[in-house]
């Protein structure tokens, strides 16, 4: 939480109030509704957002604007979601993505 900017000389005080809780790999993480998922995770010091498919390298936010796709995670069961531009919603379930992720069961 130390990484959130509460007071800022230009932006003023952060007046957002109620935080909600999102589930990240089974752990409850505080987040503001509407902020990018990646911002909430980094504010909670979760830097590794995924592991690459070949070498298994940890990756994190890189461009922070939806271009580089390095921050993709599995969100509510859907893999490859760019967490830098996907807003936090209530009851979100987020998982660190391994490789290309798992698309889940084939629909019947």
């Amino acid at each position: 939480m130390g990484l959130r900017i509460k007071y800022h000389p230009i932006l003023g005080e952060d007046l957002r109030k109620d935080m909600i809780s999102i589930e990240v790999d089974g752990r409850a993480i505080p987040a503001y509704e509407g902020e990018p998922i990646a911002a909430a995770l980094i504010a909670s010091d979760i830097k590794t957002l995924r592991k690459t498919k070949r070498i298994g390298e940890p990756r994190s936010l890189f461009c922070a604007r939806g271009v580089c796709t390095d921050c993709v995670m599995t969100v509510n069961g859907t893999p490859n979601i760019r967490t830098c531009i996907t807003p936090v919603e209530k009851d979100m379930k987020i998982e660190k993505q391994e490789g290309l992720g798992n698309w889940g069961e084939e629909p019947k």
Binding site: Y7, H8, P9, I10
Partner: protein, 165 residues
């Protein structure tokens, strides 16, 4: 064209600038703007904001601003108006021993009047101690507060920033 490509402006380079009020005027000790703008960038809010018409950029906004030190009253509006935060007001004869320097200060926390702070030069090196005399932060300044502080007279062309203790 000037090509400022050093990490800081030297005082000699400063004195050649049309925004420099001349040593005579500074010696006289009245408050006067010191415009440390050395590159032709397209910009003219300093000219537009000056109530005395003391700063001229002209038709081509790439010109360096030039200062008429006799029109300048040292009011300090240009300190907050300059997007490059490159304007300071120096009042060498603030009192017997001290000069008063006004700078833009966009950081938190803001210093308090009467507070003792470190005075830094253009390279961020500690030069001496300073005492905060005034903190202006009205709406007009649009979140660029102007902090005035006193330093020994001989430091008035050296000190350009402060660090809270």
């Amino acid at each position: 064209m000037r090509t400022l490509r050093f990490n800081v402006l030297s005082e000699e380079e400063l004195m050649e600038l049309p925004g420099f009020p001349s040593l005579d005027v500074i010696e006289k000790g009245k408050p006067v703007a010191v415009i440390e703008c050395a590159e032709k960038i397209p910009c003219n809010p300093c000219e537009a904001c000056c109530p005395q018409g003391a700063i001229t950029v002209g038709e081509d906004i790439n010109n360096l601003p030039s200062l008429d030190p006799y029109k300048c009253t040292g009011c300090g509006l240009c300190i907050a108006a300059c997007p490059g935060l490159a304007i300071f007001v120096v009042r060498k004869a603030y009192n017997e021993s001290d000069a008063l320097i006004s700078i833009p200060y966009e950081f938190l926390p803001l210093p308090e009047v009467g507070e003792q702070v470190e005075a830094l030069d253009r390279e961020g090196k500690k030069t001496c101690l300073a005492k905060v005399a005034k903190v202006r932060n009205s709406k007009k300044y649009d979140r660029t507060p102007v902090v005035s502080f006193t330093v020994p007279k001989e430091k008035c062309m050296e000190v350009r920033h402060i660090r809270l203790l």
